[in-house]
Subunit: 371 residues, 2 copies
């Protein structure tokens, strides 16, 4: 497992503004995210995990591209693409939202940032939301402008993020609430600073607004972080499973709908604003979902690496679902996973069998997050 494949580069695979820095700091493996190289390991997934969990780390997450939506119909449009009620979303605030198509299928799960009354960013997972929103807006004929701006997030994550952030920006950052943000600069580098990040270890995302200055920003943070023992890291498969963070393309996709996931607080099916998936989701809610995304704890030897192809799951010798993400948790000393299973076998404590690359294993449906 955790097999590494040799990737040939070409223009079509975009390089992040931090790419040179990540190579210089020893990025040892990459993924592709929104057509862009994204580092996923430095010292290795487990060492990187401990660096994240114990201290403070810097992540190149430029692959989380932004889709900017402006124009007189922009607020109406962002309400239209999600079942989440955004009527309370303030300028300077972000909210996690599930973007759905007319069938309730999950197109993406971005953070939606409200930059101005009529200007938004969708900070996206790995699918071409730019294309879907552009197509939809053109078809509707609404007054919105949609493009991908020159914006590349860099994350500072880990329990010791605040002293570093204070040194870099001053103590005002302490008052930023979760998913709120502020426009600022660092040595003249234009940034948006948001309390955010794809871990539960605390931290910020810095949205770099000038792609030519990525390495400069990286170096500033690394220099300031030296006294805190900062390490380069990345979205970490182990930590994000422990913390209950689902990954679009792994644990959900256009074939899933948000009612299959523990996304109740992101679905206000009766919200006032019109939205594309209302009929579909209300029908699903009425009839009941067929599948549920659940946590699993799995017996046996510690997993080495994750899940690279869905693993089959059995209940009473019949296939009842698929496992989509897996890791050995060094803190829990357990194999943990996310799986999509038939709703009839989705209750806490349900015993299932998983076909792993190392043979059949017993598994128990468990609460999410695991930690």
């Amino acid at each position: 497992m955790a097999e590494k494949i040799a990737l040939t580069l070409s223009n079509r695979i975009r390089k992040s503004p931090y790419y040179k820095s990540t190579k210089r700091y020893g990025a040892s493996a990459f993924s592709i995210y929104n057509h862009m190289l994204m580092p996923v390991a430095y010292e290795g997934p487990v060492a990187d995990y401990w660096n994240l969990v114990n201290n403070v780390t810097i992540w190149d997450v430029a692959g989380e591209r932004q889709v900017e939506i402006s124009g007189s119909d922009s607020y109406r449009f962002v309400e239209f693409i999600t079942p989440r009620d955004l009527s309370e979303l303030k300028v300077g605030q972000g909210k996690y939202a599930i973007i759905t198509d007319e069938n309730g299928g999950i197109i993406n799960d971005p953070i939606i940032l409200r930059l101005e009354e009529k200007r938004f960013w969708l900070s996206i997972a790995d699918s071409d939301v730019l294309l879907w929103t552009k197509g939809l807006a053109r078809g509707l004929g609404w007054d919105v402008n949609i493009h991908e701006p020159d914006v590349s997030p860099l994350a500072i994550q880990g329990p010791n993020n605040l002293p570093l952030m204070n040194d870099l920006f001053g103590s005002w950052v302490n008052d930023i609430k979760y998913f709120f943000f502020k426009e600022t600069e660092l040595n003249g580098i234009p940034l948006i600073v948001q309390r955010s990040g794809w871990s539960k270890q605390g931290g910020f995302e810095l949205y770099l607004m000038d792609g030519a200055r990525g390495d400069e920003l990286w170096d500033l943070i690394m220099q300031a972080g030296m006294k805190y023992g900062i390490k380069p890291a990345s979205p970490n498969n182990i930590e994000r499973i422990e913390s209950g963070l689902f990954s679009w393309g792994n644990d959900m996709n256009i074939e899933s709908n948000p009612l299959e996931l523990p996304f109740e607080k992101f679905c206000q099916l009766d919200k006032n604003a019109d939205y594309i998936s209302r009929d579909a989701l209300k029908k699903i809610a009425l009839e009941g979902v067929k599948n549920k995304v659940v946590g699993l704890i799995i017996d046996g030897d510690s997993f080495v690496g994750g899940c690279e192809n869905p693993w089959k799951i059995y209940s009473n010798n019949s296939i009842c679902g698929k496992l989509t993400s897996a890791a050995y948790s060094p803190r829990l000393k357990l194999n943990i996973a996310f799986a999509t299973v038939d709703v009839n076998v989705s209750s806490l404590g349900e015993k299932l069998t998983v076909e792993t690359p190392w043979g059949l294993r017993e598994a128990t449906v468990s609460r999410i997050p695991f930690i």
Copy 2:
């Protein structure tokens, strides 16, 4: 150059139905194409090139996903998304078409296959056309159904493709005209066989319609191909530049428009059917394009590998464009490239200067294809 990066696998990166076979046959490097692993080298780019040019090769191009469009408005819809006149497109025929947005920006450049009067496939390059078309269709409110079927192309390319195709399918394949296709099967494996492929060495694409049978199909072709010395290969950067085949994401993208490329025969701006980019493209045609995509022949030592980031191009010491694809042609014994340059310096014979990774080089605007 031709740097190889270690890629970490996850579910989010899909595996082709031929993935196991390609690994078994020695695929040494991959790219990601429509969120799917695609092999891009076996013996190496130059050895693979000679295998393709001299003989017959088998390619895993499952990453060329299909977007199926059906429903009563489906013909109207496929006309709507391209400036190409499709009124003569017959059932059983395919045509290369440039898909554009309302600004004339290039969304993708698929082959459009007409399977039935009211059912089409778009055999796509590397962007989520599924999402754009779904968004557009929903916004328009037209009666179309759009999804990605379980279809995975495998290409047989090279001058000796026909004897092998005859052995596999019979002599009827000789009568298939370029881009025409026929539904058939091989040992019960459901296929569409099309005279097609992303090289100019001749050949076919077999659209596998059952993803569970990829390795079986691969093995059947390999066994039949042994007597012809078949080799595994892939879309080849050297051959496709020689042959004038542009790559979406490399040589064109949503910032380009089809009038900047030698795509005259794919643009019928006055076609009868309504299409999304008519106003934009007619305005560009009237005002004249700002940029042109041209061929370049470049002086100096043979390039090793291709272009992984756009190379700057100068005319009289001012930047006038960017080089987007490059290779050393073993047949021409020349460095050849595609570039997007200011229209004022795009004439045949124009002398330019390219900033390569090995220093400044003199270049001459040349005809496409090169061979």
